[in-house]
Symmetry: C2
Subunit: 206 residues, 2 copies
Amino acid sequence: MPAASVPDIVVGRLPLYLRALTQMAANGKEITSSQELGERLGISSAQIRKDLSQFGEFGKQGTGYNIGYLTDQLRRILKVDRVWDVVLVGVGDLGRAIAHYAGFVDRGYRVVAVFDNDPRKIGTTVGPFTVEDIALVQQQIRTRRVAVAMLAVPQAAAQAVTDTLVESGIRAILCYAPTSIQVPKDVHVQYIDPVLHMQRMTYYLP
Amino acid sequence: MPAASVPDIVVGRLPLYLRALTQMAANGKEITSSQELGERLGISSAQIRKDLSQFGEFGKQGTGYNIGYLTDQLRRILKVDRVWDVVLVGVGDLGRAIAHYAGFVDRGYRVVAVFDNDPRKIGTTVGPFTVEDIALVQQQIRTRRVAVAMLAVPQAAAQAVTDTLVESGIRAILCYAPTSIQVPKDVHVQYIDPVLHMQRMTYYLP
């Protein structure tokens, strides 16, 4: 599989396909087509066929895709045929919502520890977790060999926490802080900032 | 300004530029360069110059960009030189975090009303808001002429609420529900689903 040669924008669509297929399967569906997937996702069927063809032959012309099979293949390609341990740093309103969210584990991720630097929060309970001292995050990441982190700290703290996480072995950071963070080339960052998404939409509004 | 001809992927980077420039200005900086912006954002300086050139001439070769001027221009282009009213639907953990978040208004958006369909939540206070009955959302959207909505409802409710919002005049939806929603062509949707972002990263991990 020529993973290195697949454009990141294609990689970015695979999770959308997996999510839609998983929902179809949950509704008892067994077969779908690139047309049906495309209508559901607002992506052209040609694009979907082209994206999937970069990874192999998943369907036959005229018979469509077997949903169970394609789901398994996408899970394997996205490496969520396993469950990744995740640390969460920052227990403000958003971190609290993340800690309570039960929808990660079925999709390949499991929050295993939650950290903050606020003495009033350390030791308190958030969902199923006891908030731990950020001073312990490096040790925990190394002991548990965690590679993925969610960062829900204020903007001013984001870079310093990032540096600590990267030094401990984190290789993928989902950053909720509304700022850009600098990481080495072998560390992946994705950002979630609702304002970026809203600005991308209001650009088009009259 | 040839807005219609600018690729959406370029439009999607403008909010990143605006965010970085705003932070530079907050730190007292007055001039920057595409090189400096690029290092900060992990985007090539050539890409930044090319993106900005689609909208006009914002800097001179050798003297860089005036941060205040470029910020004003990007605000105008992204239409956040005004403040957009936003309705929030869904007051679970995530909706609650959004309602408490104070960082929208400086960046062009103001949550003006919060809705849920749960009788136990309607009438309760969330941050500065009293939760209103979802049955009132259409009337509120029309009266206040709201065009932007944030959707933080469960997956099963997402499409029905979307249909209601669109019918009332909403033209941009930020969807936190982990599912794809169908909208007419003149309605814009952006998705925030942390798992999609994490899968896009773990694809690359060993």
